[in-house]
Amino acid sequence: MRRVGGMVWLAWLIAGPTAWAAAFSVAYGLHGLGCELGWPALSLGPVSLQRVAIALPSLAAILLCLVLLARVSTALGPEAGIPRLGLWIGLVATLYTMAPVLVATSC
């Protein structure tokens, strides 16, 4: 925190969980929307449009967490410890809560 401002540090701290929260809400929303609009029936190659739509935001969140994890040390230096844990939380939470997309029936 000596190097970066407090608000910047806090933003890094919550970045991971925020990415998870965003992916989770968007996936939940798209799930409802897709069920209404009949997306599970539309296939996009081997999988349904529904699964793709739900999985995409999670993939984006996972990528974001990975990119930020790669950068956090250079950005925050000695203060990177707890924000790094935050990014791991975001990554693991997204992987874990979104895994059912791959298996469960949709609507």
């Binding site: 925190m1 000596r2 970066v4 401002g5 407090g6 608000m7 910047v8 540090w9 806090l10 701290l13 919550i14 969980p17 925020t18 998870w20 929260a21 989770f24 996936a27 939940y28 929303g29 799930h31 409802g32 929307l33 069920c35 209404e36 739900i54 203060e79 410890g81 707890i82 844990l85 935050g86 939380i89 693991v92 939470a93 874990y96 809560t97 979104m98 895994a99 059912p100 997309v101 469960a104 029936t105 949709s106 609507c107």
Partner: protein, 841 residues
């Protein structure tokens, strides 16, 4: 002036402590007598009062639970009839959650945080007082209704359609909706000021990663409250609108959906469990290391665990709705998140166990309660895991098993830690020592009574006994267990009574306690007992923060820290930067005032008029509310003498921030965050009713050109308003007059309001269909915001007229700009949502 470097600042020279105390006390103390209590804005007074009031409500809620247990002791008791029984368990649950648990943690946090962070008060003292009065008045409304026999009777989660007008025709449900919402003003107020105080009022040099863990827990709690309470408030407002005006949000016959209520309620209700748990965990993390004579294990891991809990607990709400027929995939999401949140909780628990392992635990009274916590909470966790398994949930749903589980979690996870905390901080709060023996006896009675009562309820639940029933004539085999459970309930009550007696005896007759009786490291003990309103005669720098309470106490009292005394007769504190806590400026806090009470009374008048069904006159009651808020803002201390203040020899700080945000700006940002969640929940409602709700479709309605034009005009006008705010600020900063721009802004806002009114006029009646009702709610939301923006711009205009806008302190301009931009964004979003709703139909 560049921010001073903490290490370079020389300490102030020592002075005599007593004259310093007198000087500060004159400025900070409460007025004499009862009036002095009424006008107090001190966090110490109000924190204590919050806790004392919460204990009184705990007593009332406890009394009700005794009535419940008396009724259930035998299968066919004629003691309470069904209608009364419904009121009693509903009030028991609602009182315990809204009038005991939340206010209790707010009170504790209010009382302790400024002391732990090394400052003299919270960021918005008048807001603490306003919150208290709203709490007291709202709570009194609920209790009065109970005594009058018209208490809410639909269960503490007030499911629709039971709580709708058809099945609850009386005012009982309105009492809940209006009363609880009134009380929640205090929760939002507390959340905002705790958050701003933690981020901006820490003693110089106390970085975020060095502040006491308790502050991290409360930061997490405050953030959760800002995100969690808005859905509840929205749900209550919508249901009240349905009951009062027939807007059918939850009425399936007109396209509404009762499940929308369940979503909104549990969107609040599950995070609520963590809102309650986090401060309790904060107490544990504070007390355990000191009683084990060591340091906490894993500071960073605990902060990360808090972070995880704060976020993950918002992804679980649907697990309260596993039985309502939600699509499998969605169930799987929420089930996964429910299991995941166990990980940070486990990290927590292992950190405590590790700490106890490393140190030498001393079996003092607070430690007994901590052990009680471990034992009870772990069992509650186990039954929680059982309930998280969907098939088991289907079996145990709505039985006494759930009642048992929730009390293991709430009493184990909240009440025991709070009792530990009270026992711990009692010497600070009362300045006196405990009478030996009583507290221990109370502990054992509570522990044995608790497990006797609730362990047995697991069994009755598994035998199939539903919750919320007053009699069970067909199942006499349940009686033995129920009778024992009731017996132990009374044992527990005796224990709580003894605890209360112990507190009263200690406060009234205990021997004077030495300072810092626990040899604690944190600043909350580095002061006289009981603490004076100003807490510290001078504010600790890094060195004194690390000296431990014993090492810092005398030096602080002698004025060797920053900003000693009150030589200017003002209530001065230091505002520091968010991360490294570099001193930025000196803030002047308000003096004692009755304004918060008067404002709370005005709001109460509005609530009572709504309750009485005088909907036509109720809005009139808002006029005094607006006037009082205006007066409140006007009376915010304007520094007449704005000369820089010397906080240490040769180190001066300005009274107005240079560049950085004022405290009010930070507070407004917090409010807008909560407001944003409110809007997001409303948009969720709109999407839910349009997409998921099974009812009849909304009758078609063709938005014609006029409507589109009105919508576009509103957004364009608001954009002009936002630009106007920018422009006015730029002119004031360049020391040029801004009056004309401000007049323009007021007019633009009024025009936007007129445009919106025209739009509302063209829309179909909100009573026609739930889709029309949410749309009207959205329009009303935008209208309210434009109205406030208008008042804001008028306020700035008034300031310009009085010549109060200066480049150093541009009055309300920045805050108004923030509000104006938010209003613009909200209006644009709302109009887009309305358009999408039409396009989808």
């Amino acid at each position: 002036m560049s921010p001073p470097d903490m290490t370079a600042i020389p300490a102030n020279p020592p002075r005599r402590a007593l004259p310093l105390h007198r000087e500060l006390d004159r400025v900070w103390r409460n007025g004499p007598g009862l009036w002095g209590q009424v006008t107090s804005v001190s966090h110490t007074t109000l924190g204590l009062r919050f806790m004392a009031t919460a204990f009184v409500f705990f007593g009332i809620g406890g009394l009700l639970s005794m009535l419940i247990r008396a009724q259930l002791a035998t299968p066919n008791s004629a003691f309470l009839d069904t209608a009364l029984y419904n009121q009693i368990f509903t009030m028991h649950g609602s009182i315990m959650m809204f009038l005991f648990a939340i206010p209790m943690l707010e009170g504790l946090a209010m009382y302790l945080l400024p002391k732990m962070l090394g400052t003299r008060d919270l960021a918005f003292p008048r807001l603490s007082a306003l919150g208290y009065w709203c709490y007291l008045l709202g709570g009194s409304i609920l209790i009065t209704a109970l005594l009058a026999g018209v208490a809410p009777a639909d269960g503490w989660f007030m499911y629709t359609p039971l709580s709708g007008k058809t099945y609850s025709p009386g005012i009982n449900a309105d009492v809940w909706l209006l009363g609880v919402t009134f009380v929640e003003i205090s929760a939002l107020a507390a959340a905002i000021e705790l958050m701003v105080s933690i981020l901006r009022l820490r003693a110089p040099g106390m970085t975020l990663t060095q502040m006491p863990l308790f502050a991290w827990y409360i930061l997490g709690t405050a953030a959760m409250m800002l995100a969690g309470f808005p859905p509840l408030i929205l749900g209550s407002v919508l249901l009240e609108m349905e009951r009062a005006f027939g807007w059918p949000f939850f009425d399936p016959e007109r396209g509404g959906d009762p499940l929308l209520w369940q979503h909104l309620f549990w969107l609040f209700g599950h995070p609520e469990v963590y809102i309650i748990f986090l401060p309790a965990a904060g107490v544990l993390s504070t007390v355990i290391p000191v009683l084990c004579r060591t340091k906490i294990v894993g500071y960073g891991a605990i902060v990360a665990a808090i972070l995880g809990m704060v976020f993950l607990s918002f992804g679980l709400w649907v697990h309260h709705m596993f039985t309502v027929g939600i699509p499998h995939l969605a169930l799987a999401f929420f089930s996964a998140a429910s299991m995941l949140v166990a990980v940070p909780t486990a990290v927590q628990i292992f950190a405590w166990i590790g700490t106890m392992w490393r140190g030498r635990p001393e079996l003092k009274l607070p430690m007994l309660y901590i052990l009680g916590f471990f034992f009870t909470f772990v069992m509650g966790g186990l039954t929680g895991v059982m309930l998280a398994v969907v098939p088991f949930n289907w079996q145990a749903h709505d039985t006494a098993f759930v009642t048992a589980h929730l009390h293991y979690v709430l009493i184990g996870g909240f009440v025991f830690p709070m009792l530990a905390g009270v026992a711990w901080w009692m010497p600070l709060m009362s300045g006196r020592r405990r009478i030996k023996g009583l507290g221990e006896a109370a502990f054992w009675l509570i522990l044995i009574g608790f497990h006797g009562t609730f362990f047995l309820m697991h069994l009755t639940g598994l035998m199939g006994m539903p919750r919320r029933i007053p009699t069970y004539a067909d199942n006499p085999e349940w009686m033995g267990l129920n009778l024992s459970s009731s017996f132990f309930g009374f044992v527990m009550t005796i224990g709580f009574a003894l605890f209360a007696i112990d507190l009263i005896l200690q406060a009234g007759f205990g021997k004077r306690s030495v300072r810092d009786p626990w040899q604690a490291p944190s600043l909350d003990w580095a002061m006289a007992l009981p603490p004076p309103n100003y807490n510290f005669a001078s504010l600790p720098g890094v060195e004194l923060q690390q000296a431990g309470a014993a090492g810092a106490m005398l030096k602080l009292a002698r004025g060797e820290g920053f900003l000693p005394g009150a030589p200017r007769g003002r209530r001065e504190i230091l505002v520091t930067s968010v991360g490294a806590a570099r001193p930025q400026h000196v803030a002047l806090l308000p003096f004692n005032t009755a304004l918060p009470l008067v404002l709370a009374l005005a709001i109460c008048a509005f609530v009572l008029l709504m309750l009485a069904g005088f909907y036509a006159v109720a809005p009139v009651a808002l006029i005094p509310v607006v006037g009082l808020i205006w007066a409140w803002a006007r009376r915010a201390v304007a520094a007449v003498d704005a000369a820089p203040v010397e906080i240490a020899p040769g180190q001066f700080l300005p009274v107005h921030p240079e560049g950085g945000a004022t405290l009010t700006q930070s507070g407004l940002t917090g409010l807008l965050f909560a407001n944003g969640t409110f809007l997001a929940s409303l948009l969720f409602g709109l999407a839910f009713i349009s997409l998921v709700s099974p009812g009849p479709p909304r009758p078609v309605w063709h938005a014609d050109g006029t409507v589109l034009l009105a919508a576009a005009a509103v957004v364009a006008l608001l954009a002009a308003g936002a630009l106007g705010a920018r422009w006015a600020l730029a002119r004031v900063e360049a020391a040029r007059p801004a009056g004309a721009v401000l007049i323009g802004a007021v007019i633009v806002n009024l025009l936007a309001l007129a445009g919106l009114a025209a739009l509302a006029f063209w829309l179909p009646a909100p009573t026609r269909h739930a889709g029309d009702a949410v749309r009207a709610a959205l329009v009303a939301y935008v209208g309210l915001h434009i109205a406030i923006a208008t008042l804001f711009s008028a306020f700035a205009l008034d300031q310009a007229r009085r010549g109060e806008l200066t480049p150093a302190s541009p009055g309300a301009l920045r805050n108004w700009g923030l509000w104006q931009r938010y209003t613009l964004a909200a209006a644009a979003l709302a109009m887009a949502a309305l358009w999408a709703q039409e396009a989808g139909a």
